[in-house]
């Protein structure tokens, strides 16, 4: 700071920031790649003046000063340029001369992220480190009597689930024999790529995911499905035979649905399903948000909106008055649009009122599923306060819903999909298996796919998480061609396949010792245990120490 510099309330020192840049003058080649790559321009070329005091031995002459200049990296301390810890600087540095380091105490920048009265917004997940409840659940009912034991690598496993309203057996048989209509049911893989919109994700990321999913279906025989999120669907995909692998999402902004509806007569195949988004676990009670930075010409065209404006979806579907009415009308309308050939289901954020929606769906013969999204779910953009403080854990919300279905004998008729933080700590298969055994027919994950298939570096401890700004350094959530060209769709596709194939093996490694292979162990709660008495009681699983 210069001698006549002013200190304002938001004048921060580097020490006040969450991330500090460690830079090594000795190894730096001054190539400038780090400053060029930094998504928030946290670092710039620094020109440093250095004074050398030269004192002759034995006081033989006067003490003199010599000044020199050296070049290096200077970290900015304004909140808008605060380092986000993405470490792209480290990634591009040829000599490993630079790396961001987390502050050794709670930062002060957090008090200044609301410049201009705008609360902080970001992408990513709820801020919460360490293992969650799902990570602590163990599979304890190892079947010693299964002799010979099942072999995850050798035996036949049926890792599939149903998406759609399943009729009770007697009614199912009668309708079949009489040739009457029955609700559409899809047999799919139980790990679904959750809704991430075209817009939230870059074109290369979307393309990579779609290619990966297609490969899994066509070459690996794994019926994996992907949800579009609320942002429409590229016209070519709508008219292609690959639409059958896609779940189209409609949400309160109805973005992209003009295009979709107009494409219906030209569709070669039906989509897998229609998901009606009422809520998102990461920000319950808040609608979708695509900030203006990302609304370029392509996104605007697909969504049917002008360019360069923020696209906040309303918190709920505005054309209707109550959730009951809304759910019923939307399901009916969407079912009708595709001639009652496509399963239609709502997705809600987990909440203490989830049961109200569930109870309503049990009385709606067209409801195909209930997707519940827990508080640990990710988002492309949301208010920080919503992400950190709103929401309900998925485990207990799902369990309540499943037990309610069991109580009324409808657990096979209305599948539950669970999402929100699956694999948050890397334990994708274990988390998924826990939720399935707690009662989920399938699980949805988005953030994990970004991490595993595209190298997203965002974290639950304030790293990166700038998905909302369109400056994703990996090109995953950016609409800037200079950024998203970094992401090769072919490589993303390959990683999607890697991820699914290894998930499949891990899931088998869990269920084989439990003696399960013939069907997915939905609701097999006797296999689960946890070292927390309250959690065990709440989830109705075994307490173990």
């Amino acid at each position: 700071m210069s001698a006549d510099g002013k200190i304002t309330p938001s004048s921060l020192s580097i020490k006040d920031l969450h991330w500090q840049i460690d830079w090594n003058k000795d190894t730096c080649t001054l190539c400038g790649q780090c400053t060029a790559v930094c998504p928030v321009k946290a670092i710039e070329l620094g020109v440093f003046r250095k004074r050398h005091v030269e004192t002759p031995m034995g006081l033989s002459g006067k003490v003199t000063n010599r000044f020199s200049i050296f070049y290096g990296i200077r970290q900015k301390s304004e909140p808008k340029h605060a380092c986000i810890g993405c470490a792209m600087c480290s990634q591009v540095c040829p000599n490993d001369a630079i790396i961001p380091r987390r502050s050794d105490e709670a930062d002060k920048q957090r008090y200044h992220m609301d410049q201009g009265g705008q609360p902080m917004k970001r992408g990513g997940r709820r801020k919460a480190e360490g293992p969650g409840i799902l990570d602590r659940i163990k599979f304890t009912r190892i079947s010693m009597l299964t002799d010979p034991a099942l072999d995850a690598g050798r035996h036949e496993f049926e890792i599939k689930t149903l998406l759609g309203r399943v009729l009770p057996p007697k009614e199912q048989i009668q309708r079949h024999l009489k040739g009457e209509w029955a609700p559409p049911v899809r047999e799919i893989y139980p790990l679904v790529i959750g809704g991430m919109s075209f817009g939230a994700l870059s074109p290369t990321m979307w393309e990579g995911l779609q290619m990966g999913v297609t490969y899994l279906n066509e070459e690996m025989g794994m019926p994996v499905r992907i949800c579009t999120g609320e942002g429409g669907c590229p016209p070519r995909l709508l008219r292609s035979e690959f639409l059958k692998y896609t779940i189209l999402q409609v949400a309160s902004g109805y973005f992209g649905w003009d295009e979709i509806i107009h494409a219906i007569p030209e569709m070669k195949v039906d989509p897998c399903a229609i998901e009606i988004k009422y809520g998102q676990g990461a920000k319950p009670g808040d609608g979708g948000l695509l900030m203006w930075h990302k609304v370029n010409k392509l996104i605007a065209a697909i969504r049917g909106v002008p360019t360069g404006v923020s696209l906040p979806s309303p918190p709920t579907h505005q054309t209707q008055y109550s959730i009951e009415e809304s759910v019923a009308k939307m399901i009916q309308s969407m079912s009708m649009a595709w001639g009652f050939r496509v399963p239609v289901y709502p997705k809600i954020s987990a909440s203490s009122t989830s049961l109200a929606v569930l109870n309503n769906l049990t009385r709606n013969p067209y409801a195909a599923c209930l997707a519940i999204d827990g508080e640990d779910g990710g988002t492309g953009a949301a208010y920080n306060v919503s992400m950190n403080h709103m929401g309900h854990p998925i485990a207990s919300s799902l369990r309540d819903c499943y037990k309610t279905l069991v109580e009324i004998g409808m657990e096979n008729e209305l599948p539950l999909a669970a999402g929100g933080g699956i694999g948050k700590n890397g334990n994708l298969a274990a988390n998924a298996a826990s939720l399935i055994m707690l009662g989920a027919s399938m699980v949805q994950t988005g953030k994990y796919v970004m991490q595993a298939a595209a190298g997203c570096v965002g974290s639950e401890s304030d790293r990166c998480n700038v998905c909302n700004l369109g400056i994703c350094p990996k090109g995953i959530t950016s609409q800037d061609p200079r950024l998203y060209r970094r992401l090769d769709p072919e490589h993303v596709a390959q990683r999607v396949v890697d991820m699914y194939v290894s998930f499949d093996t891990e899931l088998k490694k869990i269920i084989a010792p439990l003696g399960r292979s013939t069907s997915l162990p939905i609701g097999m709660s006797d296999a689960l245990g946890i070292d927390d008495r309250d959690a065990a009681e709440r989830l109705d699983i075994k307490y173990m120490v």
């Binding site: 009912r141 079947s143 009597l145 299964t146 002799d147 010979p148 099942l150 035996h155 036949e156 049926e158 149903l162 399943v166 009729l167 009770p168 057996p169 007697k170 199912q172 048989i173 079949h176 024999l177 029955a182 049911v185 069991v406 109580e407 009324i408 004998g409 657990e411 096979n412 439990l514 003696g515 399960r516 292979s517 013939t518 069907s519 162990p521 939905i522 609701g523 097999m524 709660s525 006797d526």
Partner: protein, 376 residues
Amino acid sequence: MCRLFAITSEDPVSPMVALEALDVMREGHDGSGVGLFLRDLGGPFESMKDAPILSGIFTEAGLRRLDVKMMEKGFITKYKISFKLDKTPPSGVPKRDVYLIRAYEYPDDWEEWSWERKQTELTTIRLELRAMGEEKKDMIVFSFWPDVIMIKEIGDPLTVGRYLKLGANDIQARIVMAQGRQNTNYAINLYACHPFFVQGFSTMTNGENTAFIPIREFLQKRGFEGYMGFNSDSEVFTHILHYMQKELGLGMEFYKHIITPLAGDALASHANADLLTLLKQSCRRLIIDGPNCVIGSLPDHSLFMVQDRKKLRPGVIGGRPGIFAYSSEICGLDAAIPDRDKSKDFQPMYLDTAIVGPDRQEVQICRQTERLHLPH
């Protein structure tokens, strides 16, 4: 692991035939308990095929409460078996007051009732008695059904059989199912001992059904009071059989399609793929898992065996026209029917349902991939 043996014969046989066959297979079971199911009875019960027979174990006090209850309901004892027991039971067998096998006359007002109504009432009475017994720990009721006897006890099967003098008294049947082990997955409880019975359907299983909890939850809400107990993960095999036949009206050839449905190409290329796909979906909660060999008896006096989807448990059928036996091991078969054509012994595999019908002339094999006779 337990061992199973069942026999169906034109001429009534003593249950000791089955217990001796179990005994030669004793390397495969721990001798911790025995369960017997007898149907199509001979001896004194031959002439009272319609009379409901109550099978169970009672204390003296329990017996008195039973008599009061049955009198209230208008049932009169028609015939009973008296077990002449040694004063001290053999080691490992608990001392009981009364092993009860008693045939009743229907109350007068039941005469006009349809068989359907009688079935419902007989089930209700059995469950009432069971509840009474569980309340005061003085009655254990296994079955209350015409032409059916069930005996269960803790202890070595052959020892129990000799103690009860099953070879000497009047108990003979054309269908005998025997299982040699107390269920040890859960608490020791005679209600957890195979075979299980509900409304004329009985099954016993060698294996472990790892999908037990979701199946139990599904069955409990089907609105039939007989789906209860659930003391063993194998009990649901009987319930599923009953549900399939009585509720869904599907024949025995559908059983495998319910408990271990076809998958992938085998399902897609089946002649009845549409129906079977829908059935697999709507009966998804009844899909069993784990290694299981199931032997069961149907109300029409058929005897069947099915295996799990991977055929992980032993099971063999052999015999000759007039007499066939189902056994976990061939040595059991050899003990019971030594003079048979062994080249015709059949070990059902993962797609097979093996049935010996009421005429006891042949083993019918129904493969899951075959076209089905559709219900109407």
